[in-house]
């Protein structure tokens, strides 16, 4: 952080249009066929961001490097991580999923069992409820990047068996309303999930982007709960208890509850509100005059993104970006707008609208509802300021002291924003 990344640089050093080095690869045989590929050595700098402030890497989060990626699929090696007791090493031959509680017949499933059953593949975002937490800093963090602003989101193609099928196999009893899924990690992580949602569209996923789930994503089994906060999508899934009451687990009471401006605390804020983030040009990048395609990502747990607007004048006027076709209503979508930068200081922003008519608040609107010490579900519009020198920095306004905090949330020692 701190160094500006020259993204739109032109030619080779020294004014030459190309160098003799460009011919080198043509002179020798390259690498042989391999069983399993790796990325180029020149891409080794594209990594998940891990805050230097973390007290432990056994419970915390890291960020998908949104400002260094293209398209909408998150490479599995770069999917953001969040866990509470480290990533367990699970032998899939020993792993089981048990469904018990208010059911006709408790059942135990092997992985092979689950893979025989009807499967579904969907492209879905997973977003940490703590995403955006760096937006709570006031005055704004001038070293903010798109990654640290909104990188607690990733987007993958998930394959699994509908949880509804497993529940029907076990036979849910009259009066059941809730599921308590449990992980096979050290923290035996649990949450509460309404049976109703499970019967609609929840997946017990075993594959991610075509291959087995990654360890950090719950290998060999996890819940995928389309559109809801990531923390409910229990990983390393080993047990689902069917009940008539939610468990009110630590991570749905003492964490993952929202503090509101009216002094109340909100529980079960499950559906993720619309978000958008401009990834190019974005914080700590460096651009040059002339044409650029402004690009970013948008998503909403309420449904399909139907419109993304971009302002090139600090929010005074807005124009419509074009959207790439989206594989699924609950997938991240890529937005784009062609633009010629004239070399003058410019504030750019984006805001997303979903099919239900929801959009993103300004910072002021957000803090009018949420308390300034809240840690979750921050989705206010992010601004970037392009200086006359082409350097891009956080363009958020400094809020009045009474409205927003000087140091809170992720920036302090609690929460899951990944920086503490």
């Amino acid at each position: 952080a701190g160094a500006f990344v020259k993204l739109s640089g032109g030619l080779a050093q020294g004014g030459e249009k190309f160098s003799e080095k460009a011919f080198e690869p043509m002179r020798f045989l390259g690498a042989e066929l391999r069983e399993y590929g790796e990325r180029s050595e020149f891409e080794k700098g594209v990594v998940r961001y891990i805050s230097p402030n973390l007290r432990t890497r056994h419970s915390g989060a890291n960020f998908t490097p949104l400002d260094k990626l293209d398209g909408v699929i998150t490479p599995s090696s770069l999917h953001f991580e969040r866990h509470h007791g480290g990533v367990p090493t699970i032998d899939p031959a020993e792993h089981r999923l048990v469904i018990h509680g208010m059911v006709e017949r408790p059942l135990i499933f092997t992985l092979a069992d689950l893979k025989r059953l009807p499967s579904v593949t969907r492209t879905l975002f997973i977003e940490c409820a703590g995403n955006g937490q760096n937006g709570y800093r006031n005055p704004p963090d001038m070293t903010l990047t798109a990654t640290r602003s909104r990188g607690l989101v990733s987007n993958s193609s998930w394959t699994g068996v509908p949880l509804a099928i497993l529940l029907k196999e076990a036979g849910v009893k009259e009066g059941a309303r809730w599921l308590i899924p449990e992980g096979a990690d050290a923290a035996a992580y649990t949450r509460s999930l309404p049976l109703e949602k499970a019967m609609e569209d929840v997946l017990v996923a075993y594959a991610q982007n075509g291959e087995a789930l990654r360890p950090e994503q719950g290998y060999p089994l996890r819940l995928v709960v389309p559109g809801w906060e990531g923390s409910i999508m229990v990983k390393w899934l080993r047990r689902i208890q069917v009940t008539d009451m939610p468990v009110m687990a630590k991570d749905e009471t003492s964490e993952y509850t929202d503090t509101m401006a009216d002094g109340k605390v909100h529980a079960f804020t499950w559906i993720m509100e619309p978000q958008s983030i401009i990834t190019y040009p974005s914080g700590l990048q460096q651009i040059q005059r002339g044409f650029h395609e402004i690009r970013g990502l948008a998503w909403s747990g309420h449904g399909r993104i139907v419109r993304v607007e971009i302002s090139l004048d600090g929010g005074a006027t807005w124009r419509r970006a074009s959207l790439e076709p989206s594989p699924d209503p609950l997938s991240v979508v890529r937005f784009k707008l062609g633009w010629v930068w004239d070399g003058k200081e410019t504030i750019i922003m984006s805001r997303a609208w979903d099919e239900k008519g929801n959009t993103q608040p300004t910072q002021e609107e957000f803090f009018a509802r949420w308390a300034r010490n809240n840690r979750y579900h921050y989705n206010a519009i992010q601004a970037w300021r392009i200086g006359a020198d082409g350097k891009v920095v956080n363009g958020d306004k400094t809020l009045s002291a009474s409205l927003a905090p000087r140091r809170l949330g992720a920036v302090g020692m609690g929460g899951c924003g990944g920086e503490s």
Binding site: S59, G85, I108, D113, E169, A186, P194, F268, T269, N373
Partner: protein, 174 residues
């Protein structure tokens, strides 16, 4: 989904039935519901809790739960306001259900050796932490009867998210 081809009984006949005893063997860290269901036999006092805390928890959570390398567990004031830093959200001012404490400590603490505490030790730790937070007076031991009855101050400010309420009109917080 597979309509015409499904097995007799309309089910897929995949998955193996478990006996209730096998379910118990699998369920090594049972969930505790807010009404106390799931709480095991046994009990513990504040004093016992203090001893276990000092031996097993103090290194991470500090003397008297005041915080150390990791989260503080004990503190004031109640109610939390928007000026209370979230690192000061603790059991006394923020936890809304007493059962959560038993459930969480038994399943997840101590961090590096979860699942090693006895049920009596967990009851004692719960008693100690509630006492330290000024929630109970410590006169009664914690057990399956007393624990669910504890009133957590922060329950008063907990509400259901309105968007969720609209989506699930039947939903009530315990």
């Amino acid at each position: 989904l597979a309509g015409v081809l499904a097995q007799p009984g309309g089910r897929y006949q995949i998955g193996t039935p478990l006996t209730e005893q096998e379910v118990q063997r699998w369920n090594i860290r049972p969930s505790i519901l807010p009404d106390g269901r799931g709480l095991p036999p046994g009990q513990g006092t504040v004093d016992e809790g203090e001893r276990v805390y000092n031996a097993q928890c103090l290194g991470c959570h500090g003397a008297n739960g005041q915080g150390g390398v990791f989260n503080r567990l004990v503190g004031e004031p109640f109610p939390v306001t928007k000026d209370v830093d979230s690192v000061d959200f603790v059991i006394g001012n923020y936890w809304q259900y007493p059962t959560t404490l038993f459930d969480y400590i038994r399943r997840a603490m101590p961090l590096q050796a979860p699942g090693t505490l006895s049920d009596n030790e967990v009851y004692a730790l719960v008693a100690y932490l509630l006492y330290q937070n000024g929630v109970i007076d410590g006169s009664e031991p914690m057990n399956a009867q007393t624990l669910p009855k504890v009133q957590m101050p922060a329950r008063a400010i907990l509400e259901l998210d309105p968007t969720t309420q609209k989506r699930f009109p039947w939903l009530r917080l315990p």
